[in-house]
Symmetry: C2
Subunit: 303 residues, 2 copies
């Protein structure tokens, strides 16, 4: 059945290269440093970290892991035990210096289960998403971001954007703060032939999603990184990063899953910001851009 | 059955007062600010926050909540549903400015279940602990801390210190880092008559634990806050605080429980540090005090 894992893995490897190159060009100074790692049970990855001029701390990770399906993963995913698994993907989080440049996250991934010692794929799916976390919400920028994602989705299926937009609103949500992580984006999981699309068509959708990332983020880097900012704005950024930490450590299923299953901690937690702050009962000025931002960290906004 | 919830709650309220006063005296500048809050289902609390001269950010919380036992709590604690509950305690986390002063945490609490609309207590227990998280481990200081806790434990039962010391090592552990949060201390939970001690005797133990807190921490404040420190040491402190965030948000059952059950978020997350940093693959110098610290973040050290 095509595409097979080799083609998919190969796409993800190239995607990592292509995104790293694009980000280096736009940053102008930072260069990615690479750590290769191997998973004791099979497979491994390439963790790439940048500390640049526009991006203060960013990670672009590729991994392809395989082997006997660990028992706890089989349980968590409600899959038959005594299977072999293969999982590959690219995962990105970028924290910029300038509070007027948003934080961005992307993940695209493929997962499959085979009968032990055979090539027979019994279960497979794609998953992923892109979401934007502006320190300062600006309606036009959020609208630009969502329009770009909608274009990608509409190429594959007219239901995808509304469905995956809602899924992102629900997923990137800090229940304990009753606030979304940012302005959302798209999120999808366990996407397979039950969607009505073939495996090849879904792979194309994942390709389109992955390839949309670099141009979208370069837009924000290019147009925002030179904006001046005040101490108040920098301090606000540190506090928004604190919320980002809260989401990733308390609610993000990927992080939790990685830490629970002895994933490579430094690769998983590359998503955490360089500096974050917490102040008890942090207050914002009425009618300020900070207050505007808080008012727009809600589900269901039609940007 | 004595002591009853009224006596216990009253002790916790006084303990909060007494500790806040002692910390204000030692800090010399900071004054606690208080927020009173009520729980929609019954009860409430007094959150007190200090930003001082020695303590950069600290919280000393009292709460006493009661009402119908929420279904998710009944499940989590494996208790009969259709019960009423009462829970009261004091919870403290202090983050000092100076990296030579350790972070400290204490919690003492009482929990009981009654048959609906009666005073008949069907289940009760005490829980709590004190643990120390030095940014720089110093063997003599860790030994002092453990000796003080051992004195408290030995007054009640000779098995308590070894048992609760091990429990703290196991509990205050970052599995994903394979490192303890600090030099441990004591931790205990579901302590009731099955311990061999009466309720009155266990209450006395909890009293002794709570009352040991202020003198112990004043020792560290007094002796360490004036020590000079370098940028390297301050930066190390920020990274150790990052680990503290990781423990609290990923592994701490109290935090998780609070956030899952719609607890008061600002009171729960007062435990987070004012500023924390994360650096990918943060490295320390060989044979440095930082390396010494990492080598001593292990379970089972007999201080």
């Amino acid at each position: 059945m095509h595409p097979n894992r080799i083609e998919i893995q190969s796409f993800f490897e190239n995607l990592q290269d292509q995104i790293c190159e694009a980000l280096e060009v736009e940053d102008g100074v930072g260069k990615f440093e690479e750590d290769l790692w191997q998973r004791p049970g099979g497979g491994g990855g390439r963790t790439r970290i940048i500390q640049g001029r526009i991006i203060e701390k960013g990670g672009v990770n590729f991994s392809a892991v395989s082997g006997a399906l660990p028992e706890n993963i089989a349980k968590a995913l409600q899959l038959e035990q005594d299977s072999d698994f293969f999982a590959s993907g690219v995962s990105i989080v970028l924290h910029p210096f300038n509070p007027h440049v948003p934080i961005i996250h992307m993940n695209v991934r493929y997962f499959e289960i085979t009968k032990p010692d055979t090539d027979e794929v019994t279960t497979w799916w794609f998953g992923g998403g892109i979401d934007l976390t502006p320190h300062y919400v600006i309606r036009e920028e959020a609208a630009f971001f969502h329009q770009e994602l909608k274009k990608v989705c509409d190429q594959s299926h007219e239901d995808f954007y509304p469905k995956f937009k809602k899924w992102a609103d629900d997923y990137f949500f800090l229940k304990h703060r009753n606030e979304t992580r940012g302005v959302g984006g798209i999120f999808f999981d366990r996407l397979n032939e039950s969607s009505g699309l073939s495996k090849a068509e879904l792979f194309q959708f994942v390709k389109n999603t992955g390839e949309a990332f670099a141009p979208i983020y370069r837009h924000f880097m290019k147009n925002k990184h030179h904006l001046p900012y005040t101490d108040v704005e920098k301090n606000w950024q540190y506090h928004r990063r604190g919320r980002y930490v809260e989401f990733n450590l308390v609610w993000d299923r990927g992080t939790k899953f990685g830490l629970d299953t002895n994933g490579r901690t430094e690769s998983i937690l590359m998503s955490l910001p360089p500096t974050a702050k917490w102040t008890y009962e942090f207050q914002v000025e009425e009618n300020s851009p900070e207050a505007y931002t808080l008012q727009h960290l809600k589900k269901g906004i039609d940007w």
